[in-house]
């Protein structure tokens, strides 16, 4: 199996709307989780899995030549779970078991519990190193897969991210792309108030990376940035895509909220959220 058939832009928008519904429903039913963190990354994961970017086969999740997507910001996993379910890795119904004892959909991704999850994450800062390991293994084995790792912007406070950035350039790894979900908020506030690491893009440039900055909710920009990154635009150079996003995107009363990190919404709020997204909530939140 090669690349899953790519959907057109309109179908991708519709898919994004569906993923947002899943995120609201599953986190509300779970009563905990990080819905706003998941909502900001929706277009990127939809483009990766349904836009013809990733090469994958849900019936053969450990296929050695698959492209990898590693979610380093593990708390965003409801978005990834929803995408994997829609892609056919497991039944969509299972999304409602999020965070329950015995469910493979744990609070943070567990690669040993759920096929399709490439790395167990949740302790921030580690995914880019793991991705670099996959990328170097591809080189050793003469395989041509590409590794995408998504990190959070708050996660970039972690020194390990920059250790990995340094090493990826040093080892001239160009089958590795880092996507920063730059939604501007971390647990206790705006990322620049918590730890002002600006100039951000210049930091990546200084570490030798090829930098693209995009609107992370504009599917055309997302697709073209991912395609460019996968084409290895500069030989021996890893690419970072800084995706400017909105925390809580798609639900008016969750957007740009600094106080909603790591909090699920209540049933009545979820009903309003689903209505805003154009979904009926009848039978969804039981």
């Amino acid at each position: 199996m090669a690349v899953a058939p790519a959907l057109g832009i309109e179908q991708l928008r519709e898919k994004a709307r569906l993923i947002r519904k899943h995120i609201i429903v599953m986190t509300t039913l779970a009563g905990s989780g990080h819905p706003t963190t998941a909502l900001s990354m929706v277009e990127v994961v939809v483009a990766l899995y349904f836009g013809g970017i990733l090469r994958y086969d849900p019936s053969n999740p450990y296929w050695e030549d698959r492209d990898r997507f590693i979610l380093s910001k593990g708390h965003g996993c409801p978005a990834l779970y929803a995408v994997l379910a829609e892609a056919g890795y497991f039944p969509v119904e299972q999304l409602k078991t999020l965070r329950q004892l015995g469910s493979p959909l744990e609070g943070h991704p567990n690669m040993r519990a759920l096929p399709g999850i490439e790395a167990s994450t949740g302790s921030l800062g580690q995914g880019l190193s793991i991705g670099l390991g996959h990328a170097l293994a591809a080189r050793l084995d003469g395989r041509d897969y590409h590794v995408f790792t998504m990190v959070g912007d708050g996660e970039c406070d972690e020194g390990q991210v920059w250790e990995a950035a340094m090493a990826a350039k040093h080892f001239k790894v160009d089958n590795l792309t880092c996507i920063v979900d730059h939604n501007k908020y971390q647990q206790t506030g705006c990322v620049f108030d918590v730890m002002d690491y600006r100039p951000f893009a210049d930091k990546w440039r200084a570490f030798g990376w090829h930098v693209q900055e995009i609107d992370g909710h504009d599917l055309e920009q997302v697709l073209s940035a991912l395609r460019l990154a996968k084409s290895k635009p500069i030989k021996g150079t890893p690419t970072v895509i800084i995706a400017h996003t909105i925390k809580g995107k798609g639900v008016s009363f969750l957007e740009h909220r600094s106080d909603m990190h790591g909090r699920a919404i209540k049933i009545d709020e979820a009903k309003r959220a689903l209505e805003e997204l154009g979904w009926s909530w009848e039978g969804e939140l039981d």
Binding site: Q126, S129, I130, L132, G133, A164
Partner: protein, 321 residues
């Protein structure tokens, strides 16, 4: 090194050198091995592997966190990464990466910490791994091995490579006496009985195995018969050998070049308490950091000697009911 000299043990290679040579040999046999070092390859002796297999060797610079994460990723792709650095830097600096990128996802990564214990000597406490065994034991699913000499190290490295799962091996800087002059039967999790005895069992690993053998000799001169167990694997511990020792000899002394809390002593005591409680004495580094100095001077200063093991054995025997 003075340990074992009184009973005629001859100095052999350092365990780090034995590790480096064994790894280079295994590189031929196991093509999936990749070696990752934190810019101390001439100290950990992964340089031997690097020379023979440069394309499978990666120096990640002085960045332990990243190199452990990379190892986790490589293992997910079927490689057998061997990650080496000083025991203290590897285990202390990269502990969360060992937890999240190796232990929790049960990655087939081998960690080798060199320059463990106070026997590195002059470089002092900042370079001494004295908490590494406790940290490694705390990681879920880890196998933890502390070999005694060059012969056992060679076998331990081979066993670790062929074991499917994370393994920590502790090796040291100085040349150490050869305990296994006639070869070594090495099985992960199975203690080696080096000498039998009736009155007390001396359980040791690493360089303290030579000291324990010497202590048994000293005790014999005082009419005390001591069994000596090389407890090379701290986890999973050989609880059967401990129970048997407790039943047969009624007293145990545990000797290790490590802090008191969480090392071999703690693990042995837990097994004995559950299976067959007997008085246990401990010879270790207590709870305080060491100093710089000549390795033999340090070992004497901190009581990691055959004499102290023998004295501790007598006191422990005196506590038998």
């Amino acid at each position: 090194m003075e340990l074992g000299r009184r009973i005629g043990l001859k100095l052999g290679l350092s365990t780090r050198e034995a590790f480096g040579r064994a790894l280079a040999e295994l590189g031929e046999e196991v093509p999936n091995i990749v070696v990752i070092d934190g810019d101390v390859n001439n100290s950990t002796r992964t340089e031997h592997f690097a020379k023979r297999f440069p394309e499978r060797f990666f120096n990640f610079g002085i960045a332990e966190s990243n190199m452990v994460g990379v190892a986790g990723g490589m293992a997910a792709c079927g490689k057998i990464p061997v990650v080496a650095s000083f025991a203290c830097f590897l285990m202390c600096n990269a502990f969360d990466q060992l937890r999240m990128s190796v232990a929790y996802p049960r990655m087939n990564v081998k960690l080798v910490g060199s320059h463990a214990g106070i026997s590195i000597g002059q470089d002092g406490p900042s370079q001494m791994g004295v908490e590494d065994v406790a940290l490694a034991c705390a990681l879920g699913g880890f196998v933890v091995i502390v070999p005694a000499d060059e012969v056992e190290t060679r076998e331990a490295v081979r066993a670790a490579i062929y074991h499917n799962g994370p393994v920590y091996i502790r090796v040291g800087r100085p040349e150490v006496p050869i305990v296994y002059t006639d070869g070594c039967n090495f099985t992960i999790g199975k203690a080696n009985k080096l000498r039998d005895g009736r009155d007390v069992t001396l359980i040791a690993n690493g360089i303290m195995v030579a000291a324990a053998l010497e202590a048994a000799h000293l005790l014999e001169q005082d009419g005390i018969s001591a069994r000596v167990l090389d407890m090379h694997t701290v986890k999973p511990i050989d609880a059967y050998a401990i129970e048997e020792a407790a039943r047969d000899t009624g007293a145990i002394v545990v000797a290790e070049e490590h802090f008191a809390y969480g090392g071999l002593g703690s693990v042995v005591a837990m097994a004995a308490a559950e299976r067959y409680p007997v008085p246990i004495g401990f010879v270790n580094l207590g709870d305080t950091y060491s100093r710089s100095g000549d390795p033999d001077d340090l070992l004497r200063y901190y009581g990691l000697t055959a004499d102290n093991i023998a004295e501790t054995a007598k006191r422990t025997i005196g506590r038998k009911r």
